[in-house]
């Protein structure tokens, strides 16, 4: 190895010495340009959402190529938040239909929060049983839980719909949250992996001091695994927020309609000839913004976790 370096190094330094200025590294220029192009492609649709939502829908056609909002107005937001009268809405190219995205925003917050809190708490309990307790059949039961990962969601969606209907829970929050409230195999698996890595000695010390399992779970395990629990919480919240098919099936009615379903309804309500693009983009922005804020505040954790949550 050392022989190799000695014979190679001088050549390299001779190259450098030959040119007075470091030559432009075209490879790096091309690489940076490609990265910037990819970033623009990634971010432009977000800008376009914002630009359109601040436009007057009637002016979009004449200024289709303008990078700035066409005839700047907040009318689209007022329209979808139910703060504009029908005449105002129609004047700016809205459909005039009564939409209230405040309500859908509230519903989305309720659903995502309940699912996240319930699922994490119950899955942490299950993970504790799988990782920290010794009992016969433990691995078999854990394996059974994991097999649920293999079943495609639509397969269980059909019978679950019948069940929720038979329980009379269509168009209730309970019907929307129940299937994911108690567990998802991924959450159990993810938390178990972390609980397995916790030190046993502290637990044993606590046990000698007379602490029961409940106490150890709340006072030791959960605090020690707070970082992965927080990461999982963010991921669960985002998934619950973005879910479409299940709430579409069981939560059509206005009082429980979540943002994703409301967007689909809003899109199908717009007249075929001249859709209310500005209103639609304002509505999508309202649906996307809370997640983007959550991500801006807590995102670093998610970014750094992607290696192991996805692969290990």
């Amino acid at each position: 190895m050392s022989v190799l370096t000695r014979t190679q190094r001088p050549e390299l330094s001779q190259d450098r010495a030959a040119s007075p200025r470091p030559p432009i590294n075209w490879g790096r220029v091309v690489a940076w340009t490609s990265l910037v192009v990819l970033l623009i492609v990634t971010l432009f649709p977000f800008y376009w959402m914002l630009r359109t939502s601040l436009s007057n829908n009637r002016s979009l056609a004449s200024e289709a190529g303008s990078l700035l909002p066409a005839d700047f107005t907040l009318g689209a937001f007022q329209r979808v938040l139910g703060m504009a009268s029908t005449e105002e809405a129609l004047a700016e190219g809205g459909s005039g239909a009564n939409v209230n995205f405040w309500l859908y925003l509230r519903n989305s917050i309720i659903v995502a929060t309940v699912v996240t809190v319930g699922q994490l708490f119950f899955c942490a309990m299950a993970a504790y049983a799988f990782a920290r307790l010794r009992w016969p059949g433990r691995n078999k039961v854990f394996f059974l839980f994991l097999t649920a990962l293999m079943v495609p969601p639509i397969f269980t969606t059909l019978p679950n719909f019948i069940l929720i209907r038979d329980l009379g829970l269509l168009n209730t929050f309970a019907g929307i949250v129940l299937p994911t409230l108690f567990m998802t195999p991924f959450a159990v698996f993810f938390l178990r992996q972390f609980f397995l890595g916790l030190s046993r000695e502290i637990e044993e010390a606590a046990m000698i001091d007379g602490a029961g399992h409940l106490r150890i779970f709340f006072r030791l395990t959960i605090p020690m695994a707070s970082a992965p629990i927080a990461t999982l919480a963010i991921l669960t919240y985002i998934n619950a927020w973005n879910d479409y098919m299940w709430p579409l099936l069981v939560g059509q009615e206005e009082n429980v309609r979540v943002l994703t379903v409301a967007l689909g309804v809003f899109r199908s309500q717009t007249p075929q000839g001249s859709p209310d693009w500005a209103g639609l983009m304002a509505a999508t922005l309202i649906a996307a913004l809370p997640i983007m804020i959550l991500f801006a505040v807590l995102g670093r954790r998610v970014i750094n976790s992607i290696g192991f949550s996805g692969i290990k």
């Binding site: 990265l35 649920a148 969601p153 967007l263 999508t284 290696g307 692969i311």
Partner: protein, 307 residues
Amino acid sequence: MSSQVSAQSAIKTGARRSRRLGDLWVALAFLLPSAVGFVVFYLWPTIRGFYLSLTDYSLLGDAQFLGFDNFQRLFNDPLFWNSLRVTLLYVVINIGLQTVVALALAVLLHRLTQSVTIRGLVLLPYLVANVVVALVWFWMLDYQLGIVNQLIDWIGLGRIPFFGSETWAIPTIAMINVWRHMGYTALLIFAGLQMIPKYVYEASALDGASEWRTFWRVTLPLLRPIMALVLVLSVIGSFQIFDTIAVTTAGGPVDSTRVIYFYIFELAFERFDFGYAAAISVVLFLILGGVAMAQLKMLRAGDSDLS
């Protein structure tokens, strides 16, 4: 000191006494809520799904047992074969493009910058709901007013009916989801790149290999197991395309985007043909199981390149 020792020995004898059962009762208490969830919303519906696939059930009245009639019907259903073909086309375009773009993006990020902010920006599309992504692109790709067709117009090419033509609809939807997933996939690959030790690159630099050559001869072979895993995850996800289609083309034009998920959804919830819908989802179940098995085999084959 002595009391601690005696306490420990007491625990040991206690443990010996209940070794057979261990913490069984405590464990059952801790498992209860998730076990209820598992049985009611995963295990039971899975069994019921298989049963439903053997029946005729219209959501009203009782399910009529049919045996394997639904599966016979499926063989002669052109719409079923069409949905399989369309889904496969989507998966091939989606995964093909996505893997190449994500790999390029991951390598660029790895070689150029350590910035967590840039990685965050790249991840942004993945965090936004499918429905939102679909609607934004539906607007940007609009035939009359969409900015993309404006651009195409300026360049001097003919406008493209992205969602309105049978040839363009599936590639368009595949591209939209490449946009949504490329950053996430890139970060998965990025995590794999970080696991390749630095000395490998130093050695290849000392041998005078160019970046290009290093990528093909060093990075890519060492990345193979991670790429295989990323493929397992993304192919299975790709088969389940639904949201984007439901809010944009709704299966059209002329069945060209009636993918298998959407076909099952339509059969069950619009035509109330629950038994037949369940039969098709059994087929989907088998296909996805097969795909996962085949890919995991591939994965094992590429296990130990580094160690």
